[in-house]
């Protein structure tokens, strides 16, 4: 993985990381590194997750009660902290997803219109 490759990837928008974490956890408990990998892979390596920013975000979600955490063992027998979506987190995810889709659609319409005019 070269630096150039990384530079081509998209930086996450403010506030979207929380949503992506919640979305990733819907498939079951996962540890931090796994979440980062999952986001990158699911986005076809388009999105760059700064791993350093991931953990404070996890901490934030945990303190809000949207996810819960537990130390466990990873597939390759390493110790890792596993996160699980809570009921409140599921609700929050639904809410955020709707919001995000509306925002994305709206922005898309504006950009589309501009492109048409231009």
């Amino acid at each position: 993985m070269s630096t150039r490759e990384e530079n081509n990837r998209l930086e996450l928008l403010q506030g979207t990381l929380d949503l992506l974490i919640l979305r990733t956890l819907i498939f079951g408990p996962e540890h931090g590194q796994g979440i980062a990998r999952a986001i990158e892979q699911t986005s076809d390596d388009e999105l760059l997750v700064e791993h350093g920013a991931l953990y404070p975000a996890l901490q934030r979600l945990e303190s809000r009660g949207w996810i819960s955490a537990e130390w466990g063992t990873s597939k390759n027998h390493r110790k890792a902290r596993f996160y699980r979506l809570t009921k409140a987190g599921r609700k929050q995810l639904a809410k955020e997803a709707v919001k995000w889709r509306r925002l994305a659609a709206a922005i898309g319409r504006i950009l589309g219109a501009e492109a048409g005019e231009g």
Binding site: M1, H31, G32, Q33, G34, R37, E50, H51, G52, A53, Y55, P56, Q59, R60, E62, S63, G65, A69, S74, N76, R78, K79, A80, R81
Partner: protein, 875 residues
């Protein structure tokens, strides 16, 4: 929540786990061990930063910072003990003064009265608007009418002040006491500590005689013996049953400007609708929802009906006030003024502190710059400075509470008796929880007041400049703030000085007032004669004749006389009279005068001039012509332009048909109600003509100019006891002491306001001194250049003094404006001085300016001695 308790070490472990997992994944992709580890690190970004973010998101970081800041603050303060001492002391004085005054204010005005539902309790007097009379006692006829017919009261009780002499067991003693209606105690919702209160039967004038003891009297005279309940004691020469003991402090209900705190309560009030004797006070409990105005409105028609039956009561209407208002009385305006004054002192202290901190902040600019460069946010620095200040003001607050408890004791020693009466426990009230809460709030407010601006100012980071050179270059803006603070301090101090100055003027005026008598070298005392045999007027007169004769025989005594009613006291015996020229004035317009019973030599002994006619003498007895002496005021009012000698008048209402008295003398006017009350009509009647119900009880003795009146006090008391050893001698004092008593409140106000103004003066002058000193030290180089360019020492001196003078004049001008607006709150305490007295205002302005200029002179002199070579070389 579990997450809140998560430790940083756990977070760290998670990060390490992540790095391990990532490294493993990268190795699977074919990277070498080292490359994989490096790439994982790179992808993670700044590990320390992530840990910091975790740390900062935790709840306990705030607490951590606080502990850190407090520790750091204490270290910084310990490093500059001089600064710390000055700061803590300044704050302690400010907070202490506030705490002391607040505890008095709380005790007198705020703390709820210790009665059941005290908001509905009222005190009832009456006023006579057509004649301009206010705050008069009421009569049984009115009390009974209002109670049964107004519908405003749940209940209404009455009491009258009387004198109780206890004899039999132990020394004879007179105690202030009250004859009360039995319903007073249940009305207030207070039960006796022991025994019971009065029964309906005991309320009758001829009912069984019963007495209730105060806690104090019970402890003192009866050794807190429970078996005294139900026993008889000798009270005013008659056997009286002790039926109960009231709880401690209950007596303070009566702590009014009218009298002393009662030691016992006696039964037999005997209220009757036929009685019009104005000698009672009412205490009522309003029905729920009835206001003071509504109560008065309902009582007025009843008064109007009563005055049809009793012409003596013509024109009188109820005057209802809350019990709280009555109890706090004249103390309220004084306390409000004092509270304002101490808040000013605290503000001045805060301004001084702010200046001190600003100067210190400049000195610490390097420290802040370094901390800023190391990543401390501005908010963090402000917080840390505020914490440091909080430590200071809490320290000051703690010391202040200590000072306040001393201050309360000092106030208790200074306060007039009735102020103390309405604030029981003032002396130890500084330890009260409410007061402590107040001090804490004061400390916190103080921190914000003096600390916030300097903290923000100091944290304004000019990183590079400050680190390059140590803040030598000062923007003019940062110099303006301290100057504004100094101007504010001077203005506040001027207001306080003006207040104190007005009180000084008032007391000077009061001291210069000619009372109409000569109080020097006069001893006074009272013997409240009690016992069956003194009910006979002749026996009482004989007793006094013997006492006066033996006192006059004492060495050093010039003259002695008896009287009932002494000038400058509370003795006001208002009585109706009519003159022979107008024997039947319409009801409501019957003249009244202060009725004084006097013996021969009364006028000579007190030094009251006799303007015409003669004084009383030994021949004015039962069998001789009935005579009266009037004062100038009465003579001028009722016989204007005529010779009053030989005129006739008689006491009481016209309907009473009392004997006519011939005017044989006219005495000079005496300010008998104190300097503020003006002159009133007064009549003097000779004691041996047994004029009326009142028998004499005051003895006045004039000593030779070289004999101190107190030095003969024992001999005089002995003379009384030789005449009858069972009679107590009370209120032994000199006339000068008695004349000073009405000024006690003004005296206290002068002492306290003077102390606060003095404090304000010192603090504000320190303020201007420190600001100028600081400014001079900052301008050393500039002054050096000026001197090098040929400025004279005089010019430099003038430069600095002018700067200080400008600040002072600004402050004085603003302060004068403030004083013009604020001193009117003092007006009820002033005597013969306008609240905007020009002399006072000019005097305090000159005083303040003078002292401030002195304070400017010291730094100015230092500036003028700057050696240009040294000043320029130190660059």
């Amino acid at each position: 929540m579990l997450s809140r308790k998560r430790k940083p070490s756990d977070f760290k472990a998670e990060v390490e786990a992540h790095l391990a997992l990532e490294t493993e994944r990268l190795k699977e992709q074919g990277l070498s061990d080292d490359d994989a580890r490096l790439a994982a690190r790179r992808a993670f970004g700044n590990v320390t930063r992530a840990e910091e973010r975790f740390y900062e998101s935790g709840r306990w970081v705030g607490w951590d910072h606080l502990v850190q800041d407090v520790r750091f603050g204490l270290r910084m303060l310990a490093k500059s003990p001089g600064f710390t001492a000055v700061a803590v002391l300044t704050l302690a004085l400010g907070i202490g003064a506030n705490t002391a005054i607040f505890s008095a204010l709380d005790a007198v005005l705020l703390k709820p009265l210790p009665f059941k539902d005290p908001g509905r309790l009222v005190f009832i007097e009456k006023k006579n608007p057509p004649r301009g009379w206010v705050r008069n006692p009421i009569s049984p006829a009115e009390i009974l009418g209002w109670r049964s017919e107004s519908g405003a009261f749940e209940d209404l009780a009455a009491y009258t002040q009387t004198s109780c002499v206890l004899t039999g067991r132990g020394d004879p003693e007179e105690d202030p006491c009250e004859k009360v209606s039995g319903n007073l105690f249940p009305l207030l919702g207070v039960s006796p500590l022991r025994g019971r209160t009065f029964s309906a039967d005991e309320d009758r004038a001829e009912g069984p005689r019963a007495a209730i003891l105060s806690y104090g009297l019970w402890r003192r005279r009866f050794d807190a013996d429970t078996s005294v309940i139900g026993r008889a004691m000798e009270l005013n020469g008659a056997s009286t049953t002790i039926v109960g003991v009231m709880p401690p402090n209950f007596s303070h209900l009566y702590a009014t400007p009218y009298g002393t705190v009662p030691e016992l309560w006696v039964s037999g009030i005997g209220l009757s609708p036929a009685l019009t004797w104005n000698d009672y006070f009412g205490v009522g409990r309003l029905k729920p929802g009835i206001t003071l105005q509504q109560a008065e409105a309902r009582m007025n028609p009843i008064s109007a009906r009563i005055e049809q039956v009793h012409p003596d009561l013509k024109g009188w209407r109820a005057d209802v006030m809350s019990l709280r208002t009555m109890l706090s009385g004249d103390t309220r305006p004084a306390l409000v003024v004092l509270m304002g004054a101490v808040i000013f002192v605290l503000l001045i202290a805060c301004a001084n502190m702010a200046n001190l901190l600003l100067a210190r902040g400049t000195g610490r600019a390097g420290e802040f710059a370094v901390r800023g460069a190391l990543g401390a946010s501005r908010q963090r620095i402000v917080r840390q400075l505020l914490t440091e200040n909080l430590v200071l003001s809490l320290g000051g607050g703690a010391l202040g509470v200590l000072l306040a408890s001393w201050g309360c004791k000092a106030m208790a020693a200074l306060a007039p008796e009735y102020v103390l009466n309405s604030a029981p426990g003032l002396a130890d009230s500084a330890t009260d929880l409410r007061v402590l809460a107040f001090s804490l709030i004061a400390a916190l407010a103080t921190t914000l007041l003096f600390g916030l601006a300097p903290a923000i100012e100091s944290s304004r980071l000019h990183l590079t400049e400050t680190l390059k050179e140590t803040g030598r270059v000062q923007s003019p803006g940062s110099r303006r703030f301290p100057s504004a603070l100094v101007v504010a301090e001077i203005a506040l101090a001027l207001v306080l000085l003006a207040g104190a100055g007005l009180m000084v003027r008032t007391l000077t005026k009061l001291g210069q007032v000619n009372l109409g008598l000569n109080p020097a070298n006069v001893l006074t005392l009272r013997v409240p004669l009690s016992g069956e045999r003194y009910k006979e007027a002749r026996t009482s007169a004989e007793f006094w004749r013997r006492v006066v004769a033996s006192v006059e025989a004492l060495p050093g005594v010039i003259s002695a006389s008896v009287a009932r009613g002494l000038p400058t006291g509370d003795d006001w015996e208002g009585q109706f009279f009519t003159t022979a020229d107008q024997p039947n004035p319409p009801a409501g317009q019957v003249p009244d005068a202060n009725y004084i019973v006097a013996g021969p030599d009364y006028f000579r002994t007190l030094g009251i001039p006799l303007l015409s006619g003669r004084s009383f003498n030994e021949h004015d007895t039962e069998t001789s012509e009935r005579v009266v002496i009037v004062n100038e005021q009465l003579a001028r009012t009722y016989w204007p332009g005529q010779n009053p000698l030989g005129k006739q008048l008689r006491m009481g209402s016209p309907s009473e048909n009392r004997p006519w008295l011939s005017v044989v003398g006219v005495a000079g006017n005496v300010l008998s109600q104190g300097p503020g009350a003006g002159f009133h009509s007064e009549v003097y009647v000779p004691y041996r003509q047994f004029p009326w119900v009142l028998s004499p009880e005051n003895l006045v003795v004039r000593t030779a100019a070289n004999v101190k009146p107190v030095s003969i006090a024992h001999a005089v008391a002995d003379a009384v006891h030789r005449a009858d050893q069972n009679q107590p001698v009370v209120d032994l004092k000199t006339m000068e002491q008695a004349a000073r008593e009405p000024m006690a409140q003004q005296r206290m106000m002068m002492a306290l306001l003077g102390a606060f103004a003095g404090l304000a003066l010192i603090l504000s002058v320190l303020g201007i001194y420190s600001v100028l000193s600081y400014s001079v030290s900052q301008r050393t180089r500039e002054i050096g250049v000026r001197v090098a360019l040929g400025a004279e020492r005089r010019d430099v001196l003038g430069l600095v003094v002018r700067q200080g003078f400008r600040l002072t004049v600004f402050g004085v001008a603003i302060g004068l404006l403030g004083a013009f607006g604020l001193t009117r709150f003092l007006s009820s305490l002033l005597y013969d001085v306008k609240p905007t007295d020009a002399l006072t205002f000019v005097a305090v302005s000159i005083l303040l300016t003078g002292v401030a200029l002195l304070a400017c002179y010291i730094p100015a002199r230092r500036a003028s001695q700057v050696d240009p070579i040294v000043a320029l070389r130190c660059e």
